[in-house]
Structure formats: structure tokens, C-alpha cells
């Protein structure tokens, strides 16, 4: 990370600014694994945006009736959609892993009288809930239950 000092760095500064050089992305952002992971994590935002809009379209189709719905379901078989969904799945799993590991320590030490459980417990609980919901959703949508 980090580029060499920028000549502007010595320019007069406003109080409260820690740097005066122009904003910059670290020069090695792609080769530094931690920064790369972080940026990829942020980049999944694009995927979430997209999957939301796609799903909204599907529900609208569901609202319009069987014909639209069937058309949508058929379109999803196109390789491009398959590829997109593979990307989505990878993203979601990646987000879950990173977020679950960061989430526990961001918990306040106490919310009023309530004290969150220790970090390790929260971390494990997140995985349990995630697996449970995913299993439930999968079984439901795939018609294995109900």
C-alpha cells in the first residue's frame, strides 16, 4: 500500500485534514490481499443491487399472471443468467463469511441492560441461523416441504 509522498504534501493545509496530497488509491491495491478482499466485498454491492432488481422484476411478473411468470422462469435458463447467478452465489457466500467474522466485535458492549453474548457465540450463531434459513428456503422453494 501507499504511494510515495506526493509533492503537494507540503502544501498549506486546512486544520483537521491529515493529508493535503490528492486522494489516491494505494498503488498496490490489487496485489495486497487484504485491500483486495475489502474492495471485492464492497464490489458485491453491485451484485446485490442487480439481484434485487432482477427479483423485483420477477415478482412483478408473478403479479401479472402465469404467462409472464413462465416466461421469466424460462429466461432464467439462459447461460448468461446462470452465470450471473453463480456470481451471485459466490458473492453471497463471500459476504457472509467476511461479514460474520466482522460482525461480533462491532456489537456494543451493552445495549441498556442487555449484554450481547461473547463474540465467539455470536459468530457461531450467525452461521447456524444462516444455514437454517438457507436450508429452509431451499426446501420450501424446491418443493421438498409443503
Amino acid at each position: 500500500m501507499g504511494k510515495p509522498a506526493h509533492p503537494h504534501a507540503m502544501a498549506p493545509h486546512k486544520p483537521g485534514r491529515t493529508r493535503t496530497a490528492p486522494p489516491q488509491m494505494p498503488s498496490t491495491w490489487w496485489s495486497a490481499p487484504r485491500i483486495r478482499n475489502y474492495l471485492l466485498f464492497d464490489a458485491t454491492g453491485i451484485v446485490y443491487y442487480a439481484i434485487s432488481f432482477l427479483a423485483i422484476g420477477m415478482i412483478q411478473a408473478l403479479g401479472r399472471g402465469p404467462e409472464s411468470w413462465n416466461a421469466v422462469m424460462e429466461r432464467l435458463q439462459h447461460p448468461a443468467y446462470i452465470a450471473f447467478h453463480v456470481l451471485c452465489l459466490v458473492s453471497v457466500v463471500f459476504v457472509a463469511i467476511r461479514f460474520f467474522s466482522l460482525f461480533p466485535k462491532a456489537q456494543p458492549k451493552a445495549i441498556g441492560p442487555i449484554k450481547p453474548p461473547p463474540g465467539g457465540v455470536i459468530h457461531a450463531a450467525l452461521y447456524v441461523v444462516w444455514f437454517a434459513i438457507t436450508a429452509g428456503m431451499t426446501a420450501l422453494l424446491a418443493g421438498w416441504i409443503f
Binding site: 510515495p4 509522498a5 507540503m10 488509491m25 487484504r34 456489537q107
Partner: protein
């Protein structure tokens, strides 16, 4: 002993238009820290190299530099962690004063802006009741101490600022160490300044600017875990905000 090439970024505003790199061949002892190599250069090879250091025991916080692109406390980083060529630069994300010396003005300003002192609601005389009658100290349990102890371990080495991608791009961002410091006082059972600090934390360039890159905690040499502090502070600021919505004027 192994000879290593130490590349130091030089910048003298009196002479240089832009920073330049200078190489030194240094015979390094295996038990050296990176700082020892820089000191060797200063003492024996080139007296004009400028850098800060003092305690050489990882507690004064003055010797932070970029070592092969990573912010490091050089008195704590073994020279053997690196190969034959080591690139040493001033801390990223700070204005450079000279060579390896960066400017702290902005940092100190941010540091001060979170009110890093015990705020008490009452005037001192009226406050005496809270103090232990014979000893004059506040009572604090080991558990209460534990809630903020970690965040009080910050040595202000500023490595976290050099690592944080948001600091790099948003100069006004209060930054990890300053927020951790404010949060440390918020968590202290002796302090009553939460409302004031939470109001600061909801201001521009504060907790919500952090995108939880967690880089700050990765590079922190003292396990302060500033990322935890910043994100806990977000929670607290949100809770405080919600309280304000329900019960204006600071809630209960």
C-alpha cells in the same frame, strides 16, 4: 550478519521538488529491528536522513513507517521478516515534512476534537459524592474497566491512518484512533460525556464514513482493534439518535 539494501524515501522541501529514493547497503545483525537499520544509516552512512524514534520498545508510538508498503512500527518489526531489499517510506496518508517524518497537525486536531477527557455532568464540588469518601477515587469494577481497557491501549502511532482506505480518500475523516479514543471515554464508567461525543460522532466525516475495511485493526501494533471501536461507536451513535427521536434532548 547479512548485507541488505535499504531503500529510503528522501524528501527535503528545501531542495527537492518531489520525493526520491536513496539506497544504502547496511550490514544487518539477525536480531535487529527495522529501526536499527535506519539508525545505522543515520549514525554511520548518512547523517542527513531524518526520522523519529525514541523508546525502541514499542510504546512511544513515534517510529511508524511504511516498510515494503505496509505501515509498521519499525522498532517492533524484525529485519529478518524481509528479504535483501527493504523499501522504507514515510507513513502513507500524511503530509510529509521531511524524509520519513510526517506531519501530525491534522491528527492532533482530530484527536482533540473527540473530547478525550473525563466529562462529568456536575461541577467538581457537587461531584465529590461520587468519589470514595476517604480515598478520593471513583469506584470502578474490574468488569467496567474491561469494557474500555483495550481501547485505552492506543499509542497514537498512526499506523491505522496510513492503512485506512477511507482516510486515504476522505481527508476530513476523524479516523480510527481518534474515534477509538472517544469511544474509550464513552465506555468508561467514570465518564458522563456520551451525549456530547455521540453528537460529534454523528457529524461529518466521523463514524459513518468508515466502511469497515478493518485495515486499521490489521496493522495496529497494540491490538487496540480500532475497527471494533469505530463500529461499536456507530451502534451507540444510532441508538443515541433513536433515543433522541423518541425522547428529544438526549433521552433519559
Amino acid at each position: 550478519m547479512a548485507e541488505k539494501t535499504i531503500v529510503i524515501t528522501r524528501f527535503d522541501p528545501d531542495k527537492d521538488q518531489a520525493p526520491r529514493k536513496q539506497e544504502y547497503k547496511v550490514p544487518c545483525e539477525p536480531d535487529w529491528k527495522v529501526l536499527d537499520a535506519v539508525n545505522f544509516i543515520k549514525d554511520e552512512l548518512d547523517g542527513s536522513v531524518s526520522h523519529r524514534w525514541s523508546c525502541r520498545m514499542a510504546v512511544c508510538g513515534s517510529c511508524g513507517m511504511m516498510v515494503n508498503g505496509e505501515p509498521k512500527l519499525t522498532c517492533k518489526t524484525s529485519i529478518n521478516d524481509y528479504g535483501d531489499r527493504i523499501d522504507i517510506e514515510p507513513l502513507a496518508n500524511f503530509p510529509v515534512v521531511r524524509d520519513l517524518v510526517v506531519e501530525l497537525d491534522g491528527f492532533m486536531h482530530k484527536f482533540e476534537s473527540v473530547k478525550p477527557w473525563i466529562v462529568r455532568a456536575k461541577e467538581k464540588a457537587a461531584d465529590q459524592a461520587a468519589l470514595h469518601e476517604t480515598k478520593g477515587t471513583y469506584s470502578q469494577s474490574a468488569e467496567q474497566l474491561a469494557t474500555f481497557k483495550q481501547f485505552s491501549m492506543c499509542i497514537n502511532c498512526m499506523l491505522c491512518y496510513a492503512a485506512c482506505p477511507v482516510v486515504a480518500n476522505e481527508p476530513e475523516f476523524l479516523g480510527p484512533a481518534a474515534i477509538a479514543l472517544g469511544h474509550r471515554y464513552n465506555m468508561d464508567s467514570r465518564d458522563e460525556g456520551n451525549a456530547e461525543r455521540n453528537a460529534i460522532f454523528r457529524g461529518e466525516g466521523t463514524v459513518f464514513s468508515c466502511s469497515y475495511a478493518n485495515e486499521c485493526s490489521e496493522v495496529c501494533p497494540k491490538n487496540v482493534d480500532p475497527a471494533a471501536a469505530v463500529n461499536q461507536a456507530k451502534f451507540e451513535a444510532v441508538i443515541d439518535w433513536a433515543k433522541n427521536l423518541v425522547l428529544p434532548r438526549g433521552g433519559a
